[in-house]
Symmetry: C3
Subunit: 159 residues, 3 copies
């Protein structure tokens, strides 16, 4: 399906939803569909590089929020049944039982396959995440640039 285009707005920052989104993104790229993922609010947590997270030059609120939020793909919580992490451990073991890849593998797959990663400028400012702390191919754009891309796409999802 060449010349088709999918746009995903990544809002929630939850392990299982991000898994669903990245499976769609990888599959779409394998079908030659153009894919843009736009990360806003909690969705940005997926793109943090744990070893690059820093508290330098941040306000007290930013420091608090930055330390309380997940640091990268494998640190995201489940949207349900989290049970202080028991649900997620179980889910990860079930993924392993089925020899299915983990979230970080799907993220790296999407990066290799040419998914376009965009981050919401305003969200990054409010949450205090800097470009340097997130995956390097991220383009920082505003809501209007997202809309231009989404309105031209053949499908859009809010995840």
């Amino acid at each position: 399906m060449e010349n088709k285009k999918m746009n995903l707005l990544m809002f929630s920052g939850e392990y299982d939803k991000a898994m669903a989104a990245l499976i769609l993104a990888n599959s779409a790229r394998e079908m030659d569909v153009d894919v843009t993922m736009f990360f806003a609010f909690w969705g940005l947590c997926l793109l943090r590089e744990p070893e690059k997270v820093t508290m330098d030059n941040k306000t007290i609120h930013e420091k608090m929020l930055n330390s309380m939020t997940p640091k990268g793909a494998e640190d995201l919580p489940l949207s349900k049944m989290n049970f202080s992490g028991i649900g997620k451990e179980m889910m990860l073991e079930m993924i392993e039982d089925n020899k299915a890849p983990r979230l970080i593998d799907f993220l790296n797959g999407a990066r290799k396959k040419g998914v376009k990663f965009c981050g919401c400028k305003l969200s990054m400012e409010i949450m205090g995440f800097t470009k340097e702390e997130l995956i390097q191919e991220l383009q920082v754009i505003d809501a209007k640039s997202y809309l231009k891309d989404a309105l031209e796409a053949d499908m859009q999802l809010f995840i």
Copy 2:
């Protein structure tokens, strides 16, 4: 609105969201709109037939997850205000006060009206749900088949 097509990705498995989705699916069919519902992850819980749920031939993780998750439409929790079930009881009584149908009625309506029900193959494997435990008209498909359908539709929602 003939020749129009709607595709709903059912991810969350919550009573109120499933209600919204099935009201849309029923209404769309009454307008001669083509409807595909694709169930992934928690969304699959809606399609479990309580009397067919079995623990035979399942791994220990599958048994745990299968017994901890809702068994069919009327067993789904609310997305909010669940308060150990009080919120849902109240919502159900309000639905009854208004002589509005319950979720299971909307599900059966959608089945009769020709909504296409598809289940995500990978999700079923990871969660350990077998085809025999779910409603019989379910077609098991992969992410690429979902994308083919969704990219040709006039609207797509992630619910």
Copy 3:
């Protein structure tokens, strides 16, 4: 981008998701894109006018649900990290640190810019919200009218 059209189904009634949606709605209007927002279930809480909320002529269930649900935009909870309100206070202070407007400002902006506000008739009946308690430009419509609008739009999101 004239002649383009966006349709947002507002289901969740959470501060951060409503913020994302209203930022998109305002930005789209500034680009001359047509915008319809359709409020269903918890989404309706955003449009309640706190000073017009009344318990007159309501059933006991409606009174309970009406007093337990958020009364207007600034009363909505965060979708995550709510921590009995601490997370939201912090988020509001971070928004202030960045001189970004609050949710109520984005709502009023959308009203001034000509976003079309529609409320789901069935949801209003079930939840016991009357037209008089919600913002005055709200049009009350049914699921089929929503579908007609959404199926003709260039993008649709379920938020």
